[in-house]
Assembly symmetry: C2
């Protein structure tokens, strides 16, 4: 961190200093440190059964590492039984191997104030990841572009309760598949100063992510610190593919953080039951995290869990359902049992519109993620239509809701001031508290305040146009984008990033698949 | 129960039998019996502090019983210090007096299958209570009428996950204030067969509620069983008014259930801090429940808590906020500490429309109520605009969501079938579970199923008109009201109820205040 700090302080000259002087201070809340307990829905017996069953799955069924000869060799050396691409892992081996994985780690941001701690009682909030489409109130649903991507990064930068800039906030489909990671990383690095995620769609793109991070943070700093947390999906059931394993190799060797995450639509990629799904999740994550430690002991990794259920009528995935919440709560308990940071989804929903369905589903997932002990909440804002769409309005709607989670996580203030006995004595039966001393001293910070929702009296609301949440959100998107000011950056670093992207883009022809 | 059963079986003749033969079977889920733990956000030290502070409030500040000479006399005899209307209650006295209050009780329905248990690990879901306005998608917001009231009772009867018909599902403003309770009770008794609430707006109206219940259930049965749970609000801070105390007297003497509930907008009727509010809530509830036991030892009562926060900018109440959730969680712990059934709000929201704001707020409250150990959830569906409006669309939207709570409360099935090890073995790495034996055997009941929300693929949804949640809800309201069939009732009972209402209405002139 110190080096990154020095680089910023040293470099830049007049332009950077002018930019810093005129910059609006954008407030970003510190990552959440929970002061409330987690909800534990499984008892010790249930946890033991799932653990035992997962060991059985690993030992008897095994996992496939497809087209990963080096990975198979690492597993063989570690004592697993290799049969073609199948890796059967003796009972207890994964548990032994994962002991070197840290229980928490710091992911550094270029702005040191925005670095985050991932693990323990922390909760880091990151935006939607992956949708090929965007939706806004005026334009409806359409393929996402780099222009959309930049806007989401700016909205993320402007969102107080979002700690992380994320990764593929939408797929910029107007940029070649083999080059868009360069533009995406460049956007996160230059349009925001929050921590970000690296590319995982090719090992070479993961390598680009590391290289560009070295330009931003300095080579030595990146060698010694985690500056990215990237998303390695397991091809459930029980399959690791060469793309993801290759990206994991790059990041683990570089000491960069990875989420090892089953990607499961329950009933399709895992059993239709919650306990069965948890068993498979645990087996997959244990194999993935153990593998990461074979690549490099101590590589920072997160116990990931992305599980939803299926609508058995249409075959479509559902989100924000009770089974998804149960799996989240259970997986959180398993992650804590192994002393690993935990990731699960945030504002997940299946609705096509940012309407009541979307909000019910999102709030269920938000609550479960907070109370289930999630440390890294991907998709915490902006996710729509089962992850096919990044919604501008829903981004700011959900981002506002993240303030609710911050406040809830603070727990109850039991100080003398919190107890408010003087106020109760002062007001007495039949009085009112609006004017009392305690209220005057505390009202500014007593309650969570929305930046979006409408609490005005009916008449005022009606006179102002009877706006619904989406209409209010549309106005807020416009305001935030208008108010946006780019965070200052050392021009030399900016130039080097520009040059890297230009050089890499020129080095190969565009690919669109 | 037996008597009520016999009366139904005996009475009625041909018309009733024909009605029973042609009746559609309306499915009603059994009240929830939680198999998951509650979330405990306060530790023992915090609980002790609040308890100690509440005793201090009762002993030093006291509560007012306004214009209630008989209540003051009961308190005096019990050992309290009376000073005008102020009742100061020595430390420990309330704790002693409330020992006779049952930790749970059965509220009987005229259909014995729909009787509910209130207390312990149960959760009984009741609809919105109290709004003077209604809203629907076509007509917008307007004063509620008896026709609206009847429709809400019918919707409640048709809602699978709603266990209780409620009370004032909206205020029928087209009926005289001194007579509308008769029509409301008549509607609950004849249009539904679920349990209901009695009138509390005058002691005489509470007496009418008891009388009409005796017609419905038989006098002896009502003398020996609780057939109503009614809402006694405390006039916070620390004030009991003669109307509510009078109604409580009637119900307690009749052995009927009452919710003793502070009604608090935090910052106005209680301190602006959560711990201070919890202290006041506990003092008020202890006084109210202790009083109920002075009226009749063993009278069934519920620890009520209706608390929200205030928007310090507009002074308007807010709902679904983190402070409201904290208070709900804390109050639930206090109720359990005293071994009392617990009531808190359900689908509370401040939004003027059944939009995303409404759904976020409602889902927060639903989750907190489930995880906070609520036994009786009033307002679990249909509540809008801070309780000023009963919304038809939101009623069916929320009622659908109550299915989520049912499923979540079931916990995780850890049976052999739930563990699904055979399925994992059968499918193996890279396979899929859609066709496997375990999925085929379980898919029909594996996942919660919505009756409302849309999980169809985008293209199908788009072809069907790209309907949002409110549009889907509007269609569902129409369908349920079309499908509605009145539950069978002994014509002799029906006639007696009609006669009672007509006689009481004729006995005094209409009053409109």
């Amino acid at each position: 961190m110190a080096e990154a700090g020095r680089r910023r302080a040293r470099g830049g000259g007049g332009a950077a200093r002018r930019a810093e002087r005129t910059a609006i201070h954008i407030e970003t809340a510190k990552f959440i440190e929970r002061k409330i307990p987690n909800l534990e829905i499984l008892n010790e017996e249930a946890l033991s059964i799932i653990e035992e069953n997962a060991e059985t799955v690993l030992a008897e069924v095994g996992v496939n590492f497809v087209e990963c000869p080096e990975a198979l060799e690492l597993w063989r050396e570690a004592g697993a039984e290799i049969d073609g691409e199948r890796v059967r892992i003796p009972r207890g081996l994964c548990r032994e191997l994962i002991k070197t994985a840290p229980s928490s780690y710091t992911q550094h941001a270029r702005n040191p104030e925005k670095s985050v701690e991932i693990g323990g009682n922390s909760l880091v909030l990151a935006p939607v990841y992956g949708p090929p489409f965007v939706r806004d109130a005026d334009g409806g649903r359409r393929y996402a572009t780099m222009d959309d991507f930049n806007k989401f990064v700016k909205l993320g930068y402007m969102s107080k309760y979002l700690h992380h800039s994320g990764g593929t906030v939408c797929e910029p489909t107007d940029v070649a598949v083999n080059k868009r990671h360069l533009d995406m990383l460049h956007a996160h690095m230059t349009l925001s100063d929050k921590p970000y995620m690296g590319s995982v769609t090719e090992p070479s793109r993961a390598a680009d992510s590391v290289e560009m991070s070295k330009i931003l943070f300095g080579e030595e700093f990146v060698d010694q610190n985690a500056v990215m947390t990237s998303l390695i999906n397991i091809n459930s059931p029980l399959t690791f593919d060469p793309i993801m394993v290759g990206a994991l190799d790059v990041y683990a060797k570089a000491g960069q953080g990875c989420i090892i995450s089953p990607f499961i639509v329950g009933g399709a990629m895992a059993p239709v039951s919650v306990a069965g799904t948890l068993t498979q999740v645990l087996a997959e994550v244990l194999a993935g995290i153990a593998y990461s430690q074979l690549v490099r002991k101590g590589a920072p990794v997160i116990f990931g869990c992305f599980v939803t259920s299926i609508d058995m009528n249409s075959g479509a995935p559902t989100f924000g359902t009770p089974e998804a919440s149960q799996i989240l709560y259970g997986a959180g308990q398993l992650a804590r049992r192994y002393g690993l940071p935990f990731r699960s989804g945030g504002g997940l929903c299946a609705s096509k519109l940012p309407d009541a369905q979307a909000a019910y589903e999102t709030a269920h997932t938000h609550n479960a993620a907070l109370l289930g002990g999630v440390n890294f909440m991907l998709h915490s804002c902006g996710w729509l239509e089962g992850g096919l769409v990044s919604s501008f309005e829903k981004f700011v709607m959900d981002a506002d809701q993240l303030g609710v989670l911050h406040r809830l996580a603070e727990g109850i203030d039991m100080s003398e001031n919190g107890q408010a006995m003087d106020a109760i004595r002062e007001v007495g039966p039949g009085g009112h508290y609006l004017g009392c001393e305690h209220t005057q001293a505390n009202f500014k910070t007593a309650f969570w305040k929305t930046d979006l929702l409408d609490y005005k009296p009916f008449e005022t609301w009606h006179e102002e146009g009877a706006r619904d949440t989406v209409t209010l959100a549309k106005a807020r998107v416009e305001k935030l984008l208008n108010d946006y000011q780019q965070p200052a950056m050392d021009p030399a670093i900016r130039e080097a990033l520009d040059e890297y992207v230009a050089r890499k883009k020129a080095a190969e022809p565009d690919a669109f698949v």
